[in-house]
């Protein structure tokens, strides 16, 4: 049995090769536009409700927790800045990436793993249609297209969640005007750019991990389930580890 180190190195190596091969077929992108759009629709539109609900409550909880403490020191006018910065630079990209891993990543791994197990990938190979071009590239391009959109929606809904809590929770009692003024005062386009850079990196890594794990599946139906679990766990670890390094790099 392979050691965990060998397995990890194998996984990283095959993910790099997969990404390389997928982007090597980029010149054929015009013929996969339909599949890119389809994947973008599946990944973004169908994820919107859950991104909206979670982002709203993350913004709300953030405002509530911070608001109670800040009210004690009469600093509640700064809640807008705190929620705005946290959602934009950190929680928006990370939460959307986690949702992506749980929703799109798991579905992608399950689909590709079953295609592998039931020889559909072999059929593509014999037809000389590279799986990297047919299955992986559309998903990678789609996630690069829709992640900024999804994260922007998540961030804005998170701000609104914070504003609602500040307005309706009596202990905090900050009007939406003050909340958004404070938010605008300290939030810069750099913060927003950093959030979007993170979102692109996380989205790419989640989908690449999902595709790589799916296509490396061997065996039967039981292995499909195991691959899905593995892909989601690896994605979650990578999101948090990368978050630290990307934050450090962008700081």
């Amino acid at each position: 049995m392979k050691s965990i180190v060998t397995e990890t190195c194998d996984g990283i190596g095959s993910a790099i090769i997969l990404a390389w091969r997928a982007f090597a077929s980029l010149p054929t992108a015009p013929r996969i536009i339909k599949r890119v759009v389809e994947q973008a629709y599946l990944g973004s539109y169908t994820s919107l409700p859950i991104v909206g609900i979670l982002s709203f409550f993350i913004g709300a909880v953030l405002a509530l927790q911070a608001g109670i403490t800040m009210a004690d020191i009469s600093m509640q006018e700064m809640i807008g800045t705190l929620v705005g910065e946290s959602m934009t630079r950190e929680l928006g990209p990370v939460m959307v990436a986690i949702i992506l891993a749980g929703r799109v990543g798991s579905a992608t791994t399950a689909e590709l793993a079953s295609m592998k197990v039931y020889q559909e990938v072999d059929a593509l190979v014999t037809m000389n249609i590279p799986p990297e071009r047919f299955l992986v590239l559309p998903r990678l391009l789609a996630v690069l297209l829709f992640m900024p959109f999804l994260v922007t929606v998540g961030i804005v809904i998170g701000w609104i969640g914070g504003a609602v809590v500040c307005h309706y929770v009596q202990i905090i009692d900050v009007s939406p005007e003050i909340y958004f003024r404070s938010l605008r005062q300290y939030l810069s386009t750099t913060d927003f750019t950093h959030g979007l850079i993170k979102s692109e990196i996380f989205g790419f890594v989640v989908v690449l991990t999902a595709c790589n794990t799916g296509l490396r599946t061997r065996g039967g139906p039981r292995e499909i389930g195991a691959s899905v679990t593995r892909a989601v766990v690896i994605s979650l670890i990578l999101i948090l580890v990368l978050d630290f390094f990307v934050t450090k790099l962008l700081a």
Binding site: R31, E111, S114, M115, Y118, Q119, E120, D122, A123, V125, T126, M127, N128, I129, P130, F134
Partner: protein, 268 residues
Amino acid sequence: MKTTTHHVARSSDRQPVAVAVKGLAKNFGIQPVLTDINLAVTPGEIFAIMGPSGSGKSVLLRQIAGLDLPTAGTVRVDGHDPADPDTRDRYALALVFQAGALFNSLTVYDNLALYPLEHRLCPKPEIRDRVMRALKVLSLEGALHKFPSELSGGMKKRVAVARALVMEPQLILFDEPTSELDPVMAATISEIIATLRQHISVTTVVVTHDRDLALTIADRVAILMKGRLVSVSTPAALRALPDPAVQDFLNPKIDLQNPRFKHLEISS
């Protein structure tokens, strides 16, 4: 046997190809699955590979298709490595998988049109003509807009054969093409395999358990047992082969008095 006429046309510059397997061995871990396989399939030949379950027939077919790398030895299609995408591109190698391996997210039409569309072989109306002709040959016109999940096992198999026909291959590999089919459809598939070379000049390798299929349509039959080739001969020569293991495989006897089955008795 009734001859089915079909009209899958191909360009005249495409010729059937030779397949050469030399000293092929394949191990799964330390377990040898194929040992020292040597085969030469001539252009245009229908070559059947028979053998008991677990003898390595499908593994050999995957090697010929270039899907797996051999542990030792070589496989060459017209002198080229079948695992090389250029070889696949040049000769349009088609493999009909045992379970069909249809793309579940695509309709039957899209499954069939995928190869010519992806390779931009011809304009869309011509692709549609190709697909419709292949569907007609396999009596699948009604399944055009269905998804594979809506088809029976036998229909999936026929769609897989139709998909291979649309590719207009120079080498076509069949993995158990008649399993899961009723006798009438099995006969139709046998007829299609037999007549295919008249219409699209193709070399055919068939892996099968179906003795009738192999002995009726094949030019030569190879018998594979425990990962080794024990015989390669014409069907007539095979029937007369004085090898008890081969004859037992070709003419199994049903022994209702076999003492082994006494263990099935339920103790009171």
